[in-house]
Amino acid sequence: MAQATGISAAPSARRWNQRTLAPWLFMAPGLFMFTVYVLWPIIQSVTLSFYDWNGLYNQNGEFTGTFVGIRNYAELMTDPAFETSLWNNFYWLALYLLALPAGLFIAIFLNQTVTGIRLYKSLFFFPFVISQVVVGLIFAWFYAPNFGLFYLLTEAITGKGTAILADPDLVTFGIIAAGLWPQIAYVMILYLTGLNNVAPDQIEAARLDGAKGWRMLWYVVLPQLRPATFIAVIVTVIGALRSFDLVSIMTNGGPFGSSRVLSYYMFEMALGEFGFRMGYGAAIAVVLFAIMMIFISGFIWKMWRDETER
């Protein structure tokens, strides 16, 4: 394009075209998508969070909401359900990171040449392949009172069965455990590919210098796994913050809202059967977005630093 338009122009103008216009032309499709599907919804959500609106347009297609300023946010500050969701999101974030050491451990364990190792690897990877909905259902049955395996086990050991999903204090941890199952598999596969790229000569050299066990892992292997660790942290943090499907499948946020997380609470408020408070839901979404932005900016800053240092 730049060439076609620049043929008859002066050389400097042509260079200006190439240097300035071409990148924008190449970015245009991406920017268009980004604006329509990312930026515009963000602006819309933020705008909506200042309104009180039940999601209905009237018969003439007019918006029926009323502007309430920051009242939605003020309400969030005193809303006990919001507080519960925030705490639960924190638990998700903290405990989800357990997927890293667990995934690394399994990856190292599987990183050997034994007959049939491919089969073992795929079996360990299996939980990540099945849908989150299925994971949720399996664990809901696992925990189910009266007939679930976990319930029967606790009944056999302690004499009284524990129904995790009916217990307001345990329910979030039960769901996180279900979420960790596929997440560990995901982290494992990231580390397995990372382990493939560990330089064998460095291992060899370290071994000659007498390193083994923990020291080998900590000083030689792990530094080489840094890119894999970085990606694993990103997917785990984001996976924890956007946890929704498991909560929705396993408990619907219950009992009495004890297992809500921000994304589920937003859905409940905006689109749930008793919700349709679009403005309030949007306010929750904005808060979740702000929390995510802290992490996302951190990741972007790190990536930018790595690139400029190179």
């Binding site: 209905l56 009237n58 129904a163 408990t251 219950g254 008793f274 919700g275 408070r277």
Partner: protein, 417 residues
């Protein structure tokens, strides 16, 4: 450009012409509904009857999945309104009425004498003195009991008049001693606990109190509300443990397996109990026991309704169909097929169904009034907060003060004094 527009118009017109040609020049009435298979078949039979009587009208029913409908209705009412739409009475229809999406059909009520024949449903169909709904079916709530469980625990069966509250609690002690849950429920979807709470509230303080409570006019920390929770607390130890993690159908399994004696439920559950193997011989129905002597007995009977939309393209014929749906003849037929109760007092109830006749008896003698159900009587957000409170009380009765304080905070926020 102009030509292009004319062109599209012509194409659209041609399409419209061709569809109306397929309909053989009948006047079309569109109807969006959310029926399960049995009600759907009953509705289709009614449409066939109506079309036979009115050959120039063609009713086109579009059926939605029950859960998906709750979201779909919000879109289609504004974007592409059918002439008729299914929904629910009382507060559940209020948002649509207030947004001007449901049309006033007081004229249909007046012209067909419905204020007379549908007398019990006038309040739940009326907002600000105008009628917006045609109620065509409802079903009673009450206590379903398992006669086999009674036999297993050696408890005397309740008589035709049911039992007293003290007797009920005394029976619960005996069931507990026999390791049978006195009352079962599955509250993971919250609403089943509202049924228990509603009855406790109706029996402790009466219909007016309950209605005011649902409308946010009564404080949760008032002595009357506390009295309801006190009775709730008496029942709490006898309710199935871990109910918060199971669905109402899972609890139905406990009930069917003789591991529970009572289930506070709506009549729609009878089908599930019978699929589980129960018969009219071991399944019984009684009204919820009287608690405060002298309080007029009120019952719960959620009503399903049809509405004329404001965007209706053929309101005249749609109104003719609504009048038909309100008639005793149509309601007898539909409700017999589905196993529910007609709202038209001149309609008939099948005599061979003991639960329908018992329900009809219970509702027609309920001098206190007919409540719709907590989530239809109360505003949506308030209903949800209430149901979470009820469920929490059943799990953590010791947190009563905190629950009441939270409910009261919600009330003062939603209904500024």
């Amino acid at each position: 450009m102009v030509h292009k527009k004319v062109g599209t118009l012509a194409v659209v017109a041609a399409l419209l012409l061709s569809t109306s040609a397929i309909a053989q020049d009948k006047r079309v009435v569109t109807w969006n509904a959310d029926y399960d298979p049995i009600p759907l078949a009953a509705a289709e039979a009614m449409i066939a009857d109506f079309e036979a009587a009115n050959p120039e009208i063609d009713i086109q029913l579009t059926n939605f999945d029950h859960e998906a409908y709750k979201n779909a209705i919000r879109n289609f009412l504004t974007a592409d309104a059918p002439d008729l739409a299914n929904w629910y009475a009382a507060n559940r229809m209020r948002p649509f009425v207030e947004a001007g999406l449901f049309a006033d059909i007081s004229d249909v009520w007046a012209a067909n004498g419905l204020n007379e024949s549908l007398a019990s449903s006038v309040p739940s169909s009326t907002i600000d003195g105008k009628q917006y709904a045609i109620p065509y079916t409802y079903y009673q709530w009450g206590i379903y009991y398992n006669r086999d469980a009674y036999a297993a625990a050696g408890v005397e069966l309740p008589g035709a008049e049911g039992v007293t509250w003290d007797q009920f609690l005394a029976n619960c002690e005996k069931f507990k001693a026999a390791s049978i849950d006195c009352v079962t429920t599955g509250s993971s979807a919250l609403w089943p606990v509202a049924g228990i709470f509603d009855y406790l509230s109706l029996r402790t303080n009466g219909y007016q109190f309950h209605s005011d409570l649902a409308a946010g006019k009564i404080s949760w920390t008032s002595p009357e509300a506390r009295a309801v929770f006190e009775n709730f607390g008496k029942l709490q130890p006898f309710v199935t443990e871990n109910h918060a993690a199971i669905d109402w159908q899972d609890a139905a399994a406990i009930f069917v397996q003789d591991k529970a004696a009572h289930y506070v439920m709506g009549n729609f559950a009878v089908g599930v109990f019978k699929e589980g193997g129960m018969t009219n011989d071991n399944l019984g129905f009684m009204v919820f026991p009287e608690i405060t002597p002298g309080v007029a007995r009120a019952e719960e009977a959620p009503t399903d309704t049809i509405h004329l939309t404001s965007g209706a393209k053929n309101p005249e014929d749609a109104k003719a169909f609504l009048a038909y749906m309100a008639s005793a003849e149509a309601q007898s037929k539909w409700n017999t097929a589905v196993g529910q109760l007609p709202t038209n007092k001149n309609a008939t109830v099948p005599a061979d169904d003991p639960f329908l006749t018992a329900g009809f008896q219970a509702l027609s003698t309920a001098t206190g009034g007919i409540a719709q159900f907590w989530d239809r009587d109360a505003d949506a957000e308030y209903a949800k907060a209430g149901m979470e409170g009820f469920q929490r009380f059943l799990v953590q009765p010791e947190a009563l003060e905190e629950i009441l304080a939270q409910l009261e905070a919600t009330r003062t926020r939603l209904f500024p004094q």
